[in-house]
């Protein structure tokens, strides 16, 4: 598909677009006539929802790290493992690769996601040093990768159903698994609530709605 000249957004053309099926309707149409999805030119409560889910997600992420994820009972001992503790133990046994996967999925990705979503949301209000295209990429990465944090919960589920060897050894899930799962779900909802069209508006707003405030970017659209 070729783009002739400057890219115009549906809002600039006085239209509203369905984000589910990409159909375009006259501005103000409440639901998409094709797929029935609810439409808004811009989700005005988007940032509120993002922050609400973000905060709940963060609230769940803290106990997820403090409480034990796994409770391992063997003949001689009972051991509680937190997320980080479990990874450290794996590393001590020489399983560096797996320890790395666990740390990446349960610590780096969630924290990176909190930071990324927060900076995207802040960027809409205050502007960002990153270009719109970069921020869009960041958003897509966050959406794609966020689900993978669930891996730790699945590992706990698998281990605790598999390792049931009577008195010899058994593994039970800890409370942290619940909090961790909730945290992943809430941050996914937080990312989904973000209206990525807001990223691009900053570019065109300068040209259309507030020409006097920022005349330095008359063309609006960046490549």
């Amino acid at each position: 598909m070729e783009i002739a000249g400057k890219v115009k957004s549906a809002r600039e053309m006085g239209l509203v677009a369905c984000r589910r099926c990409t159909r375009v309707w006259p501005g103000g149409t409440p639901t998409c006539g094709r797929c029935g999805h609810r439409m808004q030119s811009r989700d005005t409560t988007s940032l509120q929802k993002v922050w609400a889910w973000w905060i709940v997600g963060m609230m769940c992420y803290i106990p997820a790290n403090l409480y034990p994820m796994l409770v391992t009972r063997t003949l001689v001992s009972t051991q509680d493992n937190t997320i980080v503790g479990g990874a450290v133990e794996l590393a001590q046994h020489g399983n560096y690769g797996i320890a790395l996967v666990i740390i990446a999925a349960s610590v780096l990705i969630p924290i990176g996601k909190f930071i990324a979503v927060a900076s995207l949301a802040l960027g809409v209000r205050q502007g960002s040093r990153l270009s719109s295209a970069r921020r869009q990429q960041l958003f897509e990465v966050v959406e794609y990768i966020g689900r993978w944090s669930m891996i730790d919960v699945f590992v706990v589920a698998i281990l605790s159903s598999l390792v049931q060897l009577g008195a010899l050894a058994s593994i039970a899930p800890g409370v942290a698994s619940l909090f961790f799962a909730l945290s992943v779900i809430f941050t996914m909802l937080s990312a989904q609530s973000f209206d990525s069209r807001l990223i691009w508006d900053a570019d065109s707003d300068d040209a259309t709605t507030q020409p006097s405030v920022n005349p330095s970017n008359p063309n609006g659209v960046t490549a």
């Binding site: 549906a10 990409t22 590992v155 589920a157 039970a172 990525s196 691009w200």
Partner: protein, 204 residues
């Protein structure tokens, strides 16, 4: 404005509006601003997607029931199916929620998506009028997409395997391989589907 609204397409990510000029089979139309793929038609995609959805259904049901990992240590053995894994959390009160969530993410949502896709695309492929509510069904199927986590579960199996490897002998059961095949199928299926073409064909 001289153009008709049906001829326009808006990028769901950045709201850029374009005139639709449908690409040839196997080619893709990409948003010039944010590079989201907008249209990507494929020849005979409908039948292939339905075939894959059917395979997914069969594999999920089988993979849920058969054991996928078994473990042996000092003469004591245990095996676990996907169902057992989901039920692992059911021992204590609060964690029951987690049982439901896990079962939904790895079994019920993938099944629901496969069924919805068959319901939506079946009539389209065989040139019949779409079933009632097909548009709605496809919308739900799309909304469920991020919540279908079977592929993550498979990687979870691998991690779990290595975690207990020095504790006991672990081996894969038939369901593990089924789940592996399932994941590949689901990914291919998602890549094959041109959403724009589906919406367009349902509109008629």
């Amino acid at each position: 404005m001289s153009t008709r609204l049906e001829e326009l397409i808006a990028c769901p990510h950045c709201d850029a509006v374009y005139h639709v000029s449908e690409p040839k089979m196997g080619e893709r139309a990409v948003c010039g601003r944010c590079h989201t793929v907008l249209i990507a038609p494929r020849r005979r995609a409908g039948k292939q997607i339905i075939a894959m959805a059917l395979a997914v259904l069969i594999l999920i049901v089988a993979a849920t029931v058969f054991p996928f990992l078994s473990i042996k240590a000092a003469g004591v053995a245990n095996r676990s199916s996907v169902l057992d894994a989901a039920l692992a959390f059911s021992s204590s009160g609060l964690l029951i929620l987690l049982t439901l969530a896990v079962a939904a993410l790895i079994v019920f949502i993938p099944i629901a998506r496969a069924l919805l896709v068959i319901y939506v695309l079946g009539p389209v492929v065989w040139d019949r009028p779409a079933f009632p509510g097909a548009l709605r069904a496809f919308r739900i199927s799309e909304a469920l997409r991020p919540w279908s986590m079977a592929e993550i579960f498979v990687l979870g199996c691998a991690v779990a395997l290595i975690k207990v490897a020095d504790l006991a002998d672990v081996s894969f059961g038939p369901a593990f391989w089924m789940f592996g095949a399932l994941v590949v199928l689901m990914m291919v299926q998602d890549n094959f589907m041109c959403r724009y073409s589906v919406w367009k064909s349902l509109e008629k």
